[in-house]
Symmetry: C2
Subunit: 238 residues, 2 copies
């Protein structure tokens, strides 16, 4: 009984992943704006209307795609991190950042979808990212975590020039993170994101064709702020 009813469910799930596979193929082939239900249905040998048995609307499909891609890039970064024997948080951050860049440049349309401006109807995705369980937040978390470890080890330097009081007033509700960690995370993240997004979106095509020196310099300047071992005076937790 449950076997047979499961058969239906499995069939349903297979069709849904097939839909997402074709959607991704279109994303890769023609960019985020060209994902079309009718084309997916055509590729699958079905009618567009049939897809509405599986997906409430195109927007929802794209949002699911965003979720999958966030998970994919997170898992790729985690794998790169775990493949490195060095467990130093700084080292882990560098390895993950490089893997993020590698993934993004190897999957430009996908990266453009998740790191670019939300398509109309997909703005909702970033909103729901305030939920820590959502894929976007979990992706961010793998970069937050090592920074938290650095802070606990007393190795996180105060970020210069950041108005911590004002920043603290601009955080969402779930902010159980120390404000110093938030500050260093945000400044580091936006720097990485800047190089990546600028290259992804072609904003640097007039100025440089290879941004790896810039990327590596940013990583180096990040690592340089952090002492290899804890400064005794700034040690905080165990």
């Amino acid at each position: 009984m449950s076997d047979t009813s499961h058969r239906r469910e499995r069939q349903r799930e297979r069709t849904l992943t097939e839909i997402k596979d074709f959607a991704r193929a279109q994303l890769v082939a023609s960019g985020p704006a060209s994902i079309s239900l009718r084309a997916i249905a055509r590729d699958m040998g079905m009618t567009a209307a049939a897809l509405y048995r599986y997906v409430p609307a195109l927007d929802a499909l794209v949002i699911e795609l965003c979720t999958d891609l966030h998970n994919e890039v997170r898992i790729a970064c985690e794998a790169a991190r775990d493949a490195d024997p060095d467990t130093d948080p700084v080292r882990q951050l560098l390895v993950m950042a490089r893997e993020l860049r590698r993934w993004a440049l190897a999957h430009r349309p996908e990266a453009t979808l998740i790191f670019g401006p939300p398509l109309p109807g997909v703005e909702q995705f970033h909103q729901q990212c305030e939920d820590l369980q959502c894929a976007g937040a979990q992706f961010g978390q793998i970069f937050v975590q090592p920074m938290l470890e650095l802070w606990q080890a007393g190795r996180l330097p105060a970020v210069p020039h950041v108005d911590l009081d004002r920043l603290a007033g601009a955080l969402p509700a779930h902010g159980e993170l120390p404000i110093e960690v938030t500050a260093v995370f945000l400044t580091s993240w936006t720097r990485l994101y800047g190089i990546l997004a600028a290259e992804l979106f072609g904003q640097l095509s007039w100025a440089a064709t290879d941004t790896e020196p810039l990327f590596e310099a940013e990583l180096a300047s990040f690592a340089a702020q952090i002492p290899a071992t804890a400064t005794p005076a700034s040690r905080r937790n165990s």
Copy 2:
């Protein structure tokens, strides 16, 4: 004779700017992806086919819009710069950067169009930016210029960690700029762009609602690298 023919031309130009005005109104109202020739024609009380007398295709119209917007934000930054009596290049850079952020946040859809990933069919815009006369390059130029002045005054510090040789190999043909200036410009620009783009595209909505502290910190850390007066040892030109 030339009067009358000019009358036609002026009429034609008025219609064209009217088209662009309505296009921008749509951009502001519904985002970059929602600019539609049919809707523009509807708003103007015309047929969509008539617009093809003025614009070869939708893509071309959007590209023209990008050009206009680049000019607009450039002029806004120049105005802010010139309104400040301080002629110190560092001060000018800070003023222009703040104006850039102000403009972008006050014109989010427009900023998303020109700073986000190119719409399908508009990739061409960034390519043509290798031409220094194009609007995109001229916009970049107003930030390059003060940095060049700093370099000429011997106040530009070597950017740490950047592999200048490799970067030099990744520059387009028109690079008559000193490589040190290029390096400091690109690292500073991508940092600014990162904060701006992250906020524009909602990438930080889960982490912070107000990025001004981050932006100001980035400006401060840029200014901090640059000596107020020339280091005698590093002075280069007049």
